[in-house]
């Protein structure tokens, strides 16, 4: 509660309007803690929704634009699909628990396809953001690198999904791809 209260105060002081998506994030977090979203798709949806809402919280500190809206959608689909990758990564451990995951419900192959399709949508949205004219050419260069790496990863994952590969790819996405697109956003808007 200390951290949540600190976040509330800072958000209220810097961007009061951001408290709207902030409140939705808190509601989702409380819902997750109360186990209200236990189905595999609901868990994936909440993960995607949270990432998009965090982007909107930040955007409310300035001017929310079409480009940022598309990027919030990009984060949504990236993490919505990413849940499938996480599910396959954790599959050996999840097998012995009662937790419901996408690979347990739909199988590894269909889950990998689900992830790949969502990643493709997220890449299309990231590219569409450039064509709103809100970003400089630097964004395009970095976004193309982001898409190229992502497409290779998506293709690898869709063709041979395994917990080991999913472990490596989640690192690539969390540490590499996430920071790359954020860097593209920052440098592209200078």
């Amino acid at each position: 509660m200390t951290f949540i209260a600190a976040s509330f105060v800072v958000t209220f002081l810097i961007a009061p309007w951001a408290l709207l998506p902030w409140g939705i994030i808190l509601a989702v977090i409380v819902g997750l803690a109360l186990h209200l979203f236990e189905t595999p798709l609901a868990r994936a949806l909440t993960l995607g929704l949270l990432q998009a809402l965090y982007a909107l919280v930040g955007a409310e500190a300035g001017r929310l634009s079409l480009g940022l809206g598309l990027l919030a959608g990009m984060f949504f689909f990236a993490m919505f699909g990413g849940r499938g990758m996480i599910g396959i990564r954790d599959f050996p451990q999840d097998e012995v628990t009662r937790v419901q995951t996408l690979p347990k419900r739909y199988g590894a192959k269909r889950t990998a396809q689900f992830t790949a399709v969502n990643l493709l949508i997220s890449y299309a949205l990231s590219l569409a953001a450039y064509f709103t004219g809100e970003f400089s050419i630097i964004y395009l260069y970095l976004d193309l690198a982001f898409i190229a790496i992502g497409l290779v990863c998506a293709w690898l994952f869709a063709t041979r999904p395994s917990p080991k590969l999913a472990y490596v790819l989640t690192m690539v996405f969390m540490m590499g791809e996430g920071f790359l697109i954020c860097l593209a956003m920052i440098l592209g808007s200078l």
Binding site: I4, I25, Q51, G58, G62, F75
Partner: protein
């Protein structure tokens, strides 16, 4: 099933609660979105902090809600919940959770 032994010292449990592998990414998204929206450097950094605090609070809430489940069985090995495995934190409801 037997309860797992505490595996975190208090400082280590605090560090684990921060979930830096995830919360830093969330904070980066929030800050990058703020900067992209034209909020300026200072306001973007404040929003980065706000996003990070909310993420840490959210993950801590998740740990707190599952503290009794995560102390037993396979979940104890998988979740590494510091609120489940650090008795002092459980007793104090530390971090005001």
């Amino acid at each position: 099933m037997p309860e797992s032994k505490p595996r975190f010292s208090k400082p280590m449990a605090f560090f684990w609660l921060l979930r830096l592998n995830r919360t830093v990414m969330v904070a980066t998204i929030t800050g990058a979105a703020a900067f992209t929206a034209g909020a300026g450097v200072a306001r973007s950094l404040w929003m980065t902090l706000a996003g990070w605090c909310l993420a840490v609070g959210g993950f801590s809430l998740d740990f707190y809600a599952d503290r009794d489940l995560d102390i037993r069985g396979p979940r104890a090995e998988i979740r590494h919940n510091p609120l489940a495995t650090a008795p002092s934190l459980r007793r104090q409801g530390w971090l005001s959770l």
